[in-house]
């Protein structure tokens, strides 16, 4: 079977895109921890529910950034294919 250079790069790009999405583990764990602590905070002090929720959402959205960088790298590898040019 003959594999041309372009096809090889395409396949490796797909593997790299899959590997890049491992970055999603970290934000997932972090967001889960944040949500758990927010839940316990609401349990202890139900009056502060709206404040706790908005703080939690803000922190989670900031923590999500690293995962999104991984997604961007995967997206670039799959659809822009910088290595083929």
């Amino acid at each position: 079977m003959n594999i041309s250079g372009d096809d090889f790069i395409r396949g490796c790009s797909a593997i790299g895109a899959g590997l890049a999405l491992i970055a999603g583990i970290g934000p997932g764990v972090g967001q889960g921890i944040a949500a758990g602590h927010a839940a316990s905070a609401v349990g202890r002090n139900p009056g502060a529910k709206s404040d706790v929720t908005s703080t939690m959402l803000l922190g989670q959205a900031v923590a999500e950034t690293t995962g999104l960088y991984g997604l961007l790298v995967a997206m670039l590898l799959l659809f822009v294919k910088p290595l083929l040019k």
């Binding site: 395409r10 797909a14 959402l57 803000l58 950034t65 999104l68 997604l71």
Partner: protein, 241 residues
């Protein structure tokens, strides 16, 4: 084996497409879907503003407000509350900018529901927003902390920390804009994959739930986060005095 070589079948379509090009002093400039969608979003916002202005001018203080006026009051109340609780006594100067930012980003994010390609899924739209916030931060820093305060802040623990602090300052607009861009883009790509790759019978009804999550929920959260971070950075730059 074209651009869609990696996709199994169907036509997955979420890229920015050029509509027509023209010559601008020898350079080829493209009008893309982003421009058109931004224009539509702006037209909707202008129409909303004109209607709200007219409703407020005609409002009679002796009667209960109508449905439209109620919605406008709810919106202004919500935005005022958020900005006042975050910025405290500095709120008055920034209400205009934050409200504009909020309405534009929110409508851009949820315009996927209207069948448009969200303008914020283009890095050329979110990066200028980040740069505007960055200039606001820097301007307020120099205005309120003076040059000596800025230099003191740059060599915070020690003089050799200057490059790291500089990188930290310049990372603010990039991370702000990339966060918004990547979130909206991921929603757009998900919807395009769903519409492009699956057989016809799962495309009835189910996409409504996906639209609610990817467009409405995620868009609203990201709008809130962008405005919140802008307010936090600016009040940080102003300082406590």
């Amino acid at each position: 084996m074209g651009n869609t070589a990696l996709l199994l079948s169907g036509d997955v379509d979420f890229m920015i497409k050029g509509i027509f090009s023209y010559n601008c002093f020898g350079n080829e400039v493209w009008i893309t879907t982003t421009h058109v969608c931004t224009l539509i979003v702006m037209l909707i916002l202008i129409g909303f503003a004109v209607c709200a202005n007219r409703a407020i001018k005609k409002a009679n203080t002796d009667e209960a407000p109508g449905a439209f006026l109620n919605i406008v009051e709810l919106l202004v109340d919500f935005l005022d509350g958020v900005i006042n609780s975050t910025m405290g006594k500095n709120a008055g100067k920034f209400v205009n900018y934050i409200c504009t930012l909020f309405l534009f980003i929110f409508l851009s994010n949820i315009s996927g529901i209207l069948g448009l390609r969200p303008p914020t899924a283009d890095y050329g739209v979110t990066f200028p927003l980040g740069v505007i916030t960055f200039s606001l931060i820097t301007f307020n820093k120099f205005k309120h902390q003076k040059v000596s305060g800025v230099i003191k802040g740059l060599c915070d623990p020690w003089v050799f920390w200057i490059p790291i602090n500089l990188i930290g300052d310049f990372a603010v607009p990039i991370s702000l804009s990339l966060r918004l861009f990547a979130n909206v883009l991921s929603g757009t790509v998900m919807m395009a994959l769903y519409y492009g790759l699956l057989p016809i019978f799962v495309k009835i009804g189910i996409p409504a739930a996906l639209h609610i999550y990817f467009d409405l929920f995620s868009g609203a959260i990201q709008t809130y986060v962008f405005c919140m971070l802008t307010m936090t950075y600016v009040s940080d730059a102003i300082g406590t005095d």
